[in-house]
């Protein structure tokens, strides 16, 4: 059972379209992170959200943390082929002493020119 459920798992769109990826859980997380992974590489952090209701923007990417800190979304405006990749959300669990980090199953995004 995946603690963090991402949807959709696959997304294929045309350049210029907008999209939203969701990350949901029945559990509360102390923080949510979004990573992007390219083939043959490890994931790289895009953003961390820590406060319920928080919204962060990174150029054409907008990240939101739900008020109850159980869900998050990633919105991409005017997608470009360079946005193609695997997007992963990750949640911090437990006390700061144990630092468990759990990932969702990922969303594979393909942006066609």
């Amino acid at each position: 059972t995946q603690l963090l459920e991402q949807s959709p798992q696959f997304l294929s769109i045309q350049e210029g379209e907008n999209l939203t990826v969701y990350c949901n859980s029945s559990s509360v997380f102390s923080s949510l992170q979004w990573y992007r992974q390219e083939p043959g590489e490890g994931p790289v952090l895009l953003v961390t959200v820590v406060t319920g209701g928080e919204v962060k923007k990174l150029k054409r990417l907008t990240f939101q943390f739900g008020d109850a800190r159980k869900d998050s979304s990633l919105h991409i405006t005017a997608a470009q082929p360079g946005d193609t990749g695997l997007y992963l959300c990750a949640g911090g669990r437990g006390s700061s002493n144990t630092g468990k980090l759990i990932f969702g199953q990922g969303t594979t995004l393909q942006v066609k020119p």
Partner: protein, 113 residues
């Protein structure tokens, strides 16, 4: 780039043999993680460490053991490799656990035949 090195990068082994993967860091980060990545499952946590000799199980720990005798090294051992353990294994490090950025190694592709 964060100083994190996984070895070996590729390995083919036979069913029933023990296998050890090594993760080495030069960042002096407290937390270290082992994940496996399989299609449709994102990154699943195998074991993690929150200090020297302090380790805990993740979501998919059966058949795996870990050791951390010094800050810089975190070893993952497959006690008796099975075909279901064919996967890409990623090591990650972070300074302050699940609330801060995790840096990933390049991954180890393990094939059990």
């Amino acid at each position: 780039d964060a100083g994190i090195t996984q070895s070996p990068r590729h390995k083919v082994t036979e069913t029933g043999t023990p296998v050890t993967l090594r993760c080495h860091q030069t960042e002096n980060h407290r937390y270290m993680y082992w994940y496996r990545q399989d299609p449709g499952h994102g990154l699943r946590l195998i074991h993690y460490s929150y200090g020297v000799k302090d380790t805990d199980k993740g979501e998919v720990s059966d058949g795996y053991s870990v050791s951390r005798s010094k800050t810089e090294d975190f070893l993952l051992t497959l006690e008796s490799a099975t075909s279901s353990q064919t996967s890409v294994y990623f090591c990650a490090i972070s300074a302050a656990g699940g609330h801060t950025e995790a840096f990933f190694g390049q991954g180890t592709r393990l094939t059990v035949v």
